[in-house]
Each structure stands twice: as structure tokens, then as C-alpha cells.
């Protein structure tokens, strides 16, 4: 925590130093204090636009997890689905999802739905792939052990495969957290009249660089907090995993 604050201060210090020595025009690189003053002037606007962006990020992330994890279980539990559907999903995953955003606008217009959809389409796959990988990567000796105990396959799935997949699923969820932020912003670039993504486009049009900096910083803060929340959840759910032992 202390180191986090220190490195933050260092970054701001360097930024200020660059501005003071090079003295770039404010629309290229505003000084830290310019950004703070700009944010102060329009804090109500930033906050109100932020709620819609943060809402999309959180909704997109939660939906991704809630759909991808059971779907991964479904894929691994039924071998036919695994063979038939998984390759399609992997193929779909290789599409750059940003390219779909204009298509979603055509289909669903400018509401919150297409924006959340874009977010989900980006954040969904890492959760799915890592869940599937986790479910499949059980130590074969553990499966042998279960067989020697004459375990029911349903119990093996619930009590061995599922807990075994949790660390991997959480790793996927962390990747998805960063991607959800990207998804929401892209959605607002393309399909919105509100939100921080929309504000960025507007501010860019009027060369309001200090406002753009303020919004980007807000986004970074939100993304960090979200990542931290997932990390806390992970710690409490898989405290037994190597990554969390002291």
C-alpha cells in the first residue's frame, strides 16, 4: 500500500517535471494541476456519466462470469458438446470483437443493451476458456485415486473437477476485468450518447485534453478497484491455492 502510494507520487512527479521542463501546449500534455482544476469544474458531469460506464462494466463482467462458468461446466460435462461446440467458440473468440460493435448498433440501436453486449462479447471468452482448461486439467493420479475409491462420476465432477478449476477460472476473471473496461469504452465510442467513452469522443472533438486526462484517470481508478475486488473474492474463495499462501 505504502509502495503503491509512493510509485503513484513518483509518476505524478515525473509528469509534472516533463510539463515544467518542456512546457508543451495544454492540449498536447496538460499539467497535473490543469487536470485537477478541469475535473473540479465538471465533477458532477464526470460522476453522472461515470455511473453509466461503471454500470456497463460491472454488468458485463457479472454476466460474463454468470454465463461463462456454467457454460464451461456444461461443455466439459458433456463430451459431445465439448467436441462439437468448443471449436466453434474458439473460432468465434479469434474474431476481433471491436469489429462487431457497429453490427450491434445496427441490430440493437443505441441503448444500454448493445453496450453491455459488446462488453460481454469481449470479457466472456477468457472466463470460458480458463474454466474449461481448469476443469480438464485434473492430475490423472487424482482421478485414479477417485477411481480406487469407486467414486461416482457426478461427485468427482462436483468435488474434484470444480474446485480444481477455481484458480484457473479466477485467473480468467481477472483478465476479463480489464477487458470489460475496454469493452464498455468501445461500446460508448460506437453506440452511445453518454458515458465516459462518449465524453472522451466529445472532449477530443473540442481539444479538451485536460478533461480527457481526467476521464482516463477515473477509468484507471475504477479498473483498479474492480481488479482489487476480484482479488479479494479470489483470496477468500481459494485461500488454499498456492498463489495465496503466505
Amino acid at each position: 500500500m505504502l509502495w503503491g502510494v509512493a510509485s503513484m507520487l513518483l509518476a505524478i512527479g515525473l509528469w509534472a517535471l516533463v510539463v515544467l521542463t518542456i512546457e508543451p501546449p495544454s492540449y498536447v500534455l496538460p499539467a497535473p494541476w490543469d487536470v485537477i482544476l478541469r475535473a473540479w469544474k465538471d465533477w458532477a458531469l464526470i460522476l453522472s456519466q461515470g455511473t453509466s460506464t461503471v454500470g456497463e462494466i460491472v454488468a458485463g463482467l457479472v454476466l460474463s462470469a454468470v454465463i461463462a462458468v456454467p457454460f464451461g461446466v456444461f461443455i466439459v460435462a458433456i463430451p459431445v458438446v465439448d467436441k462439437l461446440v468448443y471449436p466453434i467458440l474458439i473460432a468465434f473468440n479469434s474474431i476481433p470483437k471491436v469489429a462487431l460493435a457497429p453490427l450491434f448498433v445496427v441490430w440493437f440501436g443505441y441503448g444500454i443493451f448493445p453496450r453491455v453486449l459488446i462488453t460481454v462479447s469481449i470479457a466472456f471468452f477468457p472466463v470460458l476458456v480458463s474454466t474449461v482448461t481448469g476443469l480438464k486439467s485434473v492430475d490423472p493420479d487424482i482421478l485414479r485415486l477417485a477411481r480406487s475409491m469407486r467414486a461416482q462420476s457426478r461427485q468427482v465432477f462436483l468435488r474434484v473437477r470444480l474446485p480444481n478449476a477455481l484458480p484457473s477460472a479466477f485467473a480468467g476473471l481477472k483478465v476479463a476485468t480489464s477487458l470489460a473496461v475496454i469493452g464498455a469504452i468501445i461500446g460508448e465510442f460506437v453506440a452511445s450518447d453518454r458515458g465516459w467513452g462518449y465524453m472522451l469522443v466529445q472532449a477530443s472533438g473540442s481539444l479538451d485534453t485536460p478533461l480527457m486526462f481526467a476521464v482516463v484517470i477515473c477509468l484507471a481508478v475504477v479498473a483498479s478497484l474492480l481488479f482489487y475486488a476480484v482479488d479479494v473474492a479470489e483470496r477468500s474463495v481459494i485461500s488454499w491455492h498456492a498463489s495465496h499462501r503466505q
Binding site: D141, I142, R144, S148, M149, A151, Q155, R159, P163
Partner: protein
């Protein structure tokens, strides 16, 4: 009907309980076939403790997996009570060479996991699980996770997880390898005591000649790969074995005999 104490006298009339006839096992690998076991013939009688001893990689674990019904032999016949072994029997428990504890379960949860995995209620066995853990010196560790335990403690949990199933066939793959000499000796005595409560056929893989002689009614000496059974030695020391057993003249003789065999085989050389 034979009890562990039956010893040599009963071996002649006592029928085989576990019977291996010309068992061979070949693994297909990327670099061609690996013959782990060439032709193993062996009979194990009910209630006996049999030790498999041999150099590393000679196929001891493989032989145990075959008896467990977790692998099938490439050649030969393997029967238990006259029935071909195709899958793990109901009355069998295995302790693997690696402890294979479930990281996400507590120590108690690990010991109770066989019932859970069979979809049976655990509650009937909680008391017994605690007793077993106390027996092996793990009282107070019931709610710890495996990563908080030492290698030897983990192996003891794995042993409890097998014993709680009260198997009539217990297959142990180097269960004491990770223990220090003192704990190991205690565990050897404990296992004998825990097994004496109910007649049980035990097959124990070990690297340790002294352990093999101390624990067993029969020691099976295996050669290096592709492995064969070199000799089966009947250990006619009185039961129960105690801390004084090691001082018996017969004990040292058996240890020396097996040692000499390994020297002849070139496993140990000066």
C-alpha cells in the same frame, strides 16, 4: 481363514487370495514401448502382509496399480478370490506414492473424502476419522489445509484416508518414504496394530529392506527393468512384531539375505 500370524506352516495348504500368473505390462510411449514388468508370478494369501522391494523404476508401483484394477496387464492373468480383476474392488483401498491430498479440503475433509465421493453421508464416519488422525499423531490438525502440513504429515493423512474405508485389501505405495526414521518406526507399529483389529491383506511397496522384513510375512524381491520376481522370502518372525523384533537373530539374517541378493543382482555394488 489365515491370520497374519499363520506364517510359513500355513502357506502350503492356504489357497492364493491374490494370484498373478505370468503378468506382463508394457506401456506405449512416444519413444516406443516400455516394458515395465516382464513376467511376474506371485500368490498372496488372505491376511498376509507382502512387501514388494526392488530398485527404482522396476515396476513396483505398476504392479500395485495392476492389483488395484487401475491398470490392466498386457499379458497374463490376475485374479483376486478367483475373479479376474477388471476394476477396483469394493473392499480395496490404495495409498499412492504421492499423497494426492485434495488441496481445497481440510485434513478431516480429506480423510472423509472417500464417502463423499461415493455419495454417502460423511457424518457416520467423523468420529472414526478423528480417532484415526489421533492415532497417527495428527490430533489438533483436523481443520488445517494440506499445504500447512509437512510431507510426512500429509502422507499420514493419506494413510488415514485409506484406513477409514476399512479395506480387506490395503495397497500401500511407499507410504512411509517421506517420514523420518523415528516416525517411520512408530508408523510401522501403528499400521500393524490398526491392521490387527481386522484381518487384512496388505501389499506394501518399499525401498527399505529393514521395513520390508519388519512389516511382512513375505518379501518379494524384484529385479531391475524389465522386471521379474527374483525371489519370494517367507519371513517367519513371530507376530505381533514389536520394538524387540529387530533384535531377534532371524531378523538380521533376513535383512542380510535380501541385501546379499541385491548385491548379486548388481543393484548395490562397491
Amino acid at each position: 481363514m489365515a491370520l497374519p500370524a499363520a506364517g510359513r506352516a500355513s502357506r502350503d495348504w492356504n489357497p492364493a487370495f491374490i494370484s498373478l500368473e505370468q503378468i506382463g505390462k508394457t506401456f506405449a510411449t512416444d519413444d516406443g514401448e516400455v516394458t515395465a514388468i516382464e513376467a511376474a508370478t506371485l500368490s498372496i494369501r488372505q491376511g498376509e502382509t507382502v512387501a514388494l522391494i526392488g530398485p527404482s523404476g522396476c515396476g513396483k508401483s505398476t504392479l500395485l496399480m495392476l492389483m488395484a484394477g487401475l491398470l490392466s496387464p498386457t499379458t497374463g492373468h490376475l485374479t483376486i478370490e478367483g475373479q479376474a480383476v477388471t476394476s477396483p474392488r469394493k473392499d480395496l483401498a490404495v495409498v499412492f506414492q504421492r499423497d494426492l491430498l485434495f488441496d481445497w479440503k481440510t485434513v478431516l475433509g480429506n480423510v472423509l473424502s472417500p464417502f463423499e465421493l461415493r455419495g454417502e453421508p460423511r457424518s457416520l464416519h467423523v468420529q472414526r476419522a478423528r480417532e484415526l488422525l489421533a492415532h497417527v499423531g495428527l490430533q489438533g490438525f483436523e481443520d488445517r489445509r494440506p499445504y500447512e502440513l509437512s510431507g510426512g504429515m500429509r502422507q499420514r493423512v493419506a494413510l488415514c484416508r485409506a484406513l477409514i474405508q476399512d479395506p480387506s485389501i490395503l495397497l500401500l505405495d511407499e507410504p512411509f518414504a517421506a517420514l523420518d526414521a523415528l516416525t517411520r518406526e512408530q508408523m510401522q507399529l501403528d499400521l500393524q496394530r490398526l491392521s490387527a483389529e481386522q484381518p487384512r491383506t496388505t501389499v506394501l511397496v518399499t525401498h527399505d529392506i529393514v521395513e520390508a522384513v519388519f512389516m511382512s510375512d513375505v518379501v518379494v524381491v524384484m529385479t531391475a527393468r524389465p522386471s521379474r520376481i527374483r525371489r519370494t522370502i517367507v519371513i517367519d518372525l513371530p507376530r505381533p512384531r514389536t520394538v524387540h523384533t529387530r533384535n531377534l537373530p532371524g531378523f538380521g539374517d533376513h535383512v542380510a539375505e535380501i541385501h546379499r541378493l541385491f548385491t548379486e543382482l548388481g543393484v548395490i555394488h562397491g
